[in-house]
């Protein structure tokens, strides 16, 4: 029993030894793999012609003197040539070009997007929103009681009582603004539906 226990302990110790060996082995593999990965990346750049002159000379020297670099270079160059020379393109059916030409005969070249997208309108919309944001910010800043700036409570510095929102949302201007928006929305919807209908009939 004691012997068995002893053997068991020995086994565990041996396993621990193996485990630490395994860890060391794994670490050495990862250490080896990292430079290998780096070698491959540098050689691929060299093959693709992406290395600068200095790097190119350094790689050429390494290939000429280092066996590891020589072997990797040979392997990668072989793969590169194989892909470059032997990748073939698939071909569509014989009638393909004729089919495309028959199809495009139904259409006209659409005008360039830049010709119908009016930049002035886009800048106008952007300007409107920026002015609105700036207006609200300025108004907000004017509501702050700057004399009470010693207080650490920032919220208390803003005089919310002075913010009378109902003044802005109940007056005639707001109603007019909302009405214009609704009308514009309906016009846009009408245009969209009209275009959809035209596309469907085509």
């Amino acid at each position: 029993m004691k012997y068995g226990k002893f053997r068991g302990t020995k086994k565990i110790e041996k396993n621990i030894d193996n485990w630490s060996e395994l860890c060391l082995h794994h670490q050495s593999i990862s250490n080896q793999m990292e430079p290998q990965k780096n070698i491959e990346e540098r050689i691929w750049d060299y093959i693709d012609g992406l290395s600068n002159t200095e790097e190119k000379t350094a790689i050429e020297q390494l290939i000429a003197t280092n066996l590891e670099w020589q072997r990797t270079y040979r392997e990668l160059l072989e793969a590169h040539l194989l892909i470059a020379k032997h990748t073939e393109l698939d071909e569509p059916s014989m009638r393909f070009t004729r089919n495309v030409m028959e199809e495009i005969a139904k259409y006209k070249v659409a005008p360039a997007a830049s010709s119908y997208i009016n930049k002035k309108i886009i800048w106008g919309i952007a300007g409107f929103f920026l002015t609105m944001i700036a207006g609200f910010l300025i108004y907000g800043f004017f509501q702050i009681n700057w004399t009470a700036s010693n207080s650490s409570d920032v919220i208390s510095q803003v005089n919310f009582d002075k913010l009378n929102l109902s003044k802005f949302f109940s007056n005639t201007y707001t109603t007019i603004f909302m009405m214009i928006n609704v009308v514009l929305g309906l016009v846009l919807l009408d245009l969209y539906l009209h275009r959809k209908k035209a596309q469907a009939t085509n």
Binding site: L82, I83, H86, L89, S93, T97, M101, I104, K108
Partner: protein, 195 residues
Amino acid sequence: MLGALTDTEVISRVLQGEQQLFATLVDRYKNYVFTLILRFTDNREDAEELSQDIFVKAYRSLSDFRGESKFSTWLYTIVRTTCITFLRKKKLDTTSLDNEKTFLQVENRESGFRANQMESKSKQAMVNEAINLLSPNDAQLITLFYKGEQSLEEIGRIIGADPNTVKVKLHRARQRLREKMEKYFSHEIREIQGD
């Protein structure tokens, strides 16, 4: 005669009303477009239909081509967006083409491929079958770089990434291609190395 015209010359003449000249561009790029689409969908019929749609789209928006990039780069951008829309319509999750679903798709391709594995292959067949075993993104990247004559910057413009990211992705794609070739065509590779 028409073959000597550059893409830009053909485009300006098409825009001036010589619609038939567009056939030159179709002939020039149909194989590239078709192959790129086949990297996304295995179905040749779908690929042909999508290719046709892409050329029609390209024709209709030809006046939007400002010549800031190559025509092929502009066309491949349309290919990519159209393919992504197509896959979305097919209820495939295309938020990332390297995700689990694509992985499963590739795995299925691999198992189907194993069933029909031939004894020995030509280099061409080997490379193309290995490319087909890659994820659509990797396969498309390799096709664009090696066959589409696109630089890293141009590929970046097509896929919406910066050139450094494209470079890393390309390294990884080639690495995965080499792994596939070693896994499934070790015999052929040894033969090549023996040549």
